[in-house]
């Protein structure tokens, strides 16, 4: 069991501007750790990309799992506070990663077309009004997912198809309200992505899942 990245450099003031790691973050770490042999041996990643990296906890942990400097770890966040803290978290834990302030993957496609081997996204998934998705408040924006909590997730699904390499894998955190079955069906129907539930946990009344997608190889 690898320890959770050290986050003691982040102050309570920082958490007014960046999403604080919570149960969903830790479920993500568990799913990656459980898959480490698969990731190292079968995926053998060259380029990893995390969308909405927040504190950078997930990508730093992924760097620790895979070995520092053995892959390119790219992180994006629309919140410039988050990308700054993502870089600090990596440094605090002796991991090298690269952060880019942008909206999802804007500016990275088409260069990363079919080049990403591990794609991670802990999206804004909470059911809210559509207006809240574009909130001026970065914390609200980090969790507000709009109708069914699906508005940002649904923008990301076609991008995942653009980004993923032939043996790449996509980890997506969702909750029951997001209709995980429908997301999986759509990924199969539109892109022929295979899927499974990689991890799940009950957090209060909310059931959280890590969905895992990969290309159909046959």
């Amino acid at each position: 069991m690898l320890p959770t990245p050290n986050l003691d450099h982040i102050t309570s003031n920082d958490y007014e501007n960046v999403y604080e790691p919570a149960e969903d973050t830790f479920l993500f770490l568990d799913a990656l750790e459980n898959d480490i042999e698969f990731l190292k041996n079968d995926v053998n990643p060259c380029i990893c990309l995390e969308i909405g990296s927040g504190t950078g906890c997930v990508s730093t942990f992924l760097g620790q799992l895979l070995g520092d400097g053995s892959t390119l770890l790219l992180c994006t966040d629309i919140n410039p506070f988050a990308t700054a803290i993502t870089v600090k978290t990596a440094i605090r834990n002796s991991i090298h990663l690269d952060a880019i302030t942008t909206n999802l993957t804007s500016g990275l496609l088409p260069r990363l077309y079919h080049k990403v081997d591990i794609l991670c996204f802990n999206p804004p998934y909470v059911v809210t009004s559509s207006e809240d998705v574009n909130s001026k408040n970065f914390i609200e924006r980090a969790w507000a997912g709009g109708i069914y909590g699906r508005e940002v997730i649904d923008r990301m699904l076609p991008l995942a198809n653009d980004l993923l390499s032939s043996n790449g894998v996509f980890y997506l955190l969702v909750i029951s309200d997001n209709k995980p079955d429908e997301i999986c069906e759509r990924m199969w129907r539109d892109y022929k992505f295979q899927f499974k539930i990689s991890a799940s946990r009950l957090a209060g009344r909310e059931k959280q899942f890590i969905l895992k997608f990969w290309r159909n190889q046959t």
């Binding site: 060259c46 520092d68 400097g69 410039p80 690269d98 880019i100 302030t101 942008t102 500016g107 990275l108």
Partner: protein, 138 residues
């Protein structure tokens, strides 16, 4: 921002879809941060690199020790030089400018900002204002 990341970034202004890569670098401040040499990883990354864009960008910031074309036989000295330039050379400040539409993307404290629209820019300005206010209070 390392040069390997610059090689992955392209202008995404609506309607700007030719001559928009690579973004040209201006007013750059460079720092070298050492990282362990991993020839296996570097070799696996080479096919994903746009070599011509990489060379022209390196030239822009005064790095001229690389061949115009990727050599057929790659030795360790070549990989070590490449490692230095791709992975250890950080652009800490500066801007990236699109050759086609002249849109400018800033690089601050080593992080490129690819956000475009006014709403996003306004938010960033607000955040900066907050940071400044906090700094004054301290």
């Amino acid at each position: 921002m390392r040069l390997v990341v610059h090689n992955m970034l392209q202008c995404h202004v609506k309607g700007c879809d030719s001559n928009n890569f690579p973004l040209r670098l201006f007013d750059v401040e460079l720092e070298i941060h050492e990282i362990e040499f991993n020839p296996q990883f570097l070799q696996s990354l080479l096919p994903k690199l746009d070599w011509n864009a990489f060379i022209s960008t390196a030239n822009q910031i005064g790095i001229t020790s690389l061949p115009q074309a990727l050599p057929e036989e790659i030795d360790e000295d070549f990989l070590k030089n490449l490692h230095r330039i791709l992975f250890e050379t950080h652009i800490m400040q500066g801007k990236m400018v699109c050759s086609n539409c002249s849109h400018e993307y800033p690089i601050k404290e080593g992080i490129p900002n690819m956000l475009l629209n006014e709403e996003e820019a306004e938010e960033e300005a607000e955040v900066e204002a907050e940071v400044e206010t906090e700094a004054e209070e301290d």
